[in-house]
Amino acid sequence: MSVCPPIGTPKRPVACRLREVQELQAHWLERLAFGQGRADDELVQLWLGLFPVSWRQLSDMRLLEAQIATIRAHLQGSYSDLLQAMIQDTALQISLNGLGNRRRNPNENFARELLELFTLGEGHFRERDVSETARALTGFRRGADGRLFVDPRQHDAGLKTILGRREPFEGASLAAWLCQQQATALNLVRRLWPRMVGVAPTGGQLEALAGRWRQQGLALPWLMQALRRSATAPANRGQRLEDPILMMARSLRLLGSRHPDALLIARQHLGRMGQEPFDPPSVKGWPVNGEWINLRWQQARVRGLQALLSDEEVWASRRTPGTLVVGVTAIPPLTFTLPLAVSREAMGLLFTDPAWQFA
């Protein structure tokens, strides 16, 4: 293969970008499977589904690493701070055409998704709010260091009326104002619940949770703890069909093999399962819970795990526990009984059992 032009050069050949993203994907899977900061990384993966960027839209894969670092740095803060950081995130701005949003020639793509997906939710804003929000977000440009800055010549500094308030809004004040809205907390809770817990409860439970979260100043640790508590409650445990990435990370962890084949196989098969890392299918992110139900993807999950198990190098370098204990699956297996002494056959039973797919 020919030498790749330096990172940052526009229009780099897809083969170069592919090689770089594949490295990044393997590294990310390794972190999710074995990393010290696994719990945080799982949350980062969650937010990558809410602020989705596809590597295919980027010429520089380091922008994905930067987005990951930014999200991780905000996990202990409030949603308002995270949102503000995402508005200033280069990868997300590129993916939503934000850099094409100029004072004289506004592009509403980022503004629309900001209102509809990242904050208020459908039905809680008008077209006028979209165009005014787009004005507030004009002027982002990439500096020589890759970071975004607001170019005063391209930014519309005038007054904008957004959700009834008239101010010279820009990124930070806009994020703060949107996060004060009741609809924002509810929309976020509504989007996070199926991703962390499963089928959303009926009645006022989500509203109540969103209300309490607002009282906590939209603190992310508080919300994550509350959602986790719900996810592990007996009624909810094992009810959610896990994302392929986290299911695969869990499988790699149980196998314990650090042979590079394992990550290679995992990465290859995740695409067939419908979840190539850093390649969400749309701005709505990946499918969630029941949306994963699709025969092709289901079969790909099992085939991917079987491929992992049938690799001689991976099996030879395994560090499995001695026994598959009760509780290794979130719901009891359907095709065998636990506990079970570990063997290749036992691992095969576990990986092909539908229970392994649930969390």
Binding site: S54, R240, V283, N289, I331, T335, P354
Partner: protein
């Protein structure tokens, strides 16, 4: 990621549903009248963006010759006075002469994207937004058919998915190997999601077994390509001749993303395509009492008129689609794009939207 023109989408969905109803009626009528199995639609996806300009070639056009100093082709099987086929497609000429081959010209989107994955989504759903169920899945749903839609290509196809009708994948692995053990959906108890998952798997398994049992050996002497498309064509013929032909079969061939060294690479994939399609046609003739069959071959986009610095071509817009089989609109659908009139990037301007092509196909 701009894919949310909701109003437009629903308008498109309505248009598509109107278009499909004619096909549906015809299918139902056909089934009632003759007791014959319904028409089989075969979708062949040419992955990577096939260079329409070097497939059905406007060889007399000086602008074509000028734009492609190293890649222009000026001799090949003639389709009419102005258009020739790539020489590698010569095996298709007898099918053309038998009027069982047609080309759709200038096929593409009004506002083309050059992203493979976005374009594949658009083609799969038949919408500019690229979201919603696959167009073939939606067509079967409207017909009230349970399918199955059978993907033979190694990675399946989104055009077959997202509907109520069962979409299954059938590769050599699923044909010969042991099927995974059946888990009774009742075992899910009150776990609704698990039950859905198990029910789908049980259906897929049952359908696969049914198809497997119905398969007859493929006709002999087809001389299909050994790899790639060849085994898919053989399996498609087995399904069509089984007496239990699925209403939709999908196949796929890769290798069309010819950014560099296009001359030999494009010739090679087209030669495989021609050999596979000629074998398919021979096979159809050897299947007595088979249902009507129409094959549609499409690619996510065409390529730029002007060749690049690497003796290749970059992502363009309008391309050609190929139709083969019973009742195809021979010789042409649509008109060849005007090489004088290019868009801002120097690409051909499409005159036939994919939705219209689908509509036409479903009306045949």
């Amino acid at each position: 990621m701009k894919r949310r023109q909701f109003l437009q989408r629903s308008a498109e969905a309505l248009a598509a549903s109107l278009a499909v109803s004619a096909w549906v009626e015809q299918l139902q009528h056909g089934a009632r009248a003759g007791g014959q199995p319904g028409r089989v639609l075969v979708l062949l996806e040419l992955r990577g963006g096939n260079d329409g300009l070097n497939t059905v070639i406007p060889f007399r056009d000086p602008r074509y010759q000028q734009a492609r100093p190293s890649l222009a082709i000026d001799d090949g099987p003639a389709l009419d006075a102005d258009l020739i086929l790539h020489p590698a497609l010569a095996p298709l000429l007898p099918i053309w002469k038998a009027r069982r081959l047609a080309f759709a010209l200038g096929v593409g989107w009004e506002q083309p994207t050059r992203s493979h994955f976005k374009a594949i989504d658009q083609w799969a759903t038949g919408t500019t937004s690229g979201s919603g169920p696959g167009w073939l899945a939606a067509a079967l749903d409207r017909r009230g058919s349970r399918g199955p839609l059978v993907a033979l290509g190694p990675t399946g196809s989104a055009a077959l998915e997202g509907g109520r009708a069962l979409a299954i994948q059938m590769a050599p692995a699923q044909l010969q190997g042991r099927l995974p053990a059946r888990v009774d959906p009742a075992q899910a108890g009150n776990h609704a999601l698990l039950r859905r998952m198990l029910a789908l798997e049980a259906n897929g398994r049952r359908e696969l077994l049914r198809l497997r049992q119905a398969l007859r050996p493929p006709p002999e002497g087809l001389q299909l390509p050994r790899g790639g498309l060849g085994p898919q064509v053989a399996l498609a013929l087995q399904l069509i001749g089984s007496g239990a032909a699925p209403p939709v079969i999908q196949m796929a061939q890769g290798g069309y993303d010819t950014h560099a060294g296009q001359g030999s690479r494009h010739g090679k994939v087209l030669a495989e395509l021609a050999s596979a399609l000629a074998g398919f046609e021979r096979g159809l003739k050897l299947l007595p009492g088979r249902p009507e069959v129409c094959l549609l071959a499409t690619s996510e986009f065409g390529r730029r008129l002007r060749e690049n610095e690497s003796n290749g071509t970059d992502h363009g817009s309008a391309s050609i689609a190929l139709l083969l089989g019973d009742g195809v609109p021979h010789p042409f659908l649509g008109t060849y794009p005007d090489l004088e009139r290019l868009d801002g990037r120097g690409d051909l301007i499409a005159g036939l939207a994919p939705q219209k092509l689908y509509e036409k196909l479903l009306h045949l």
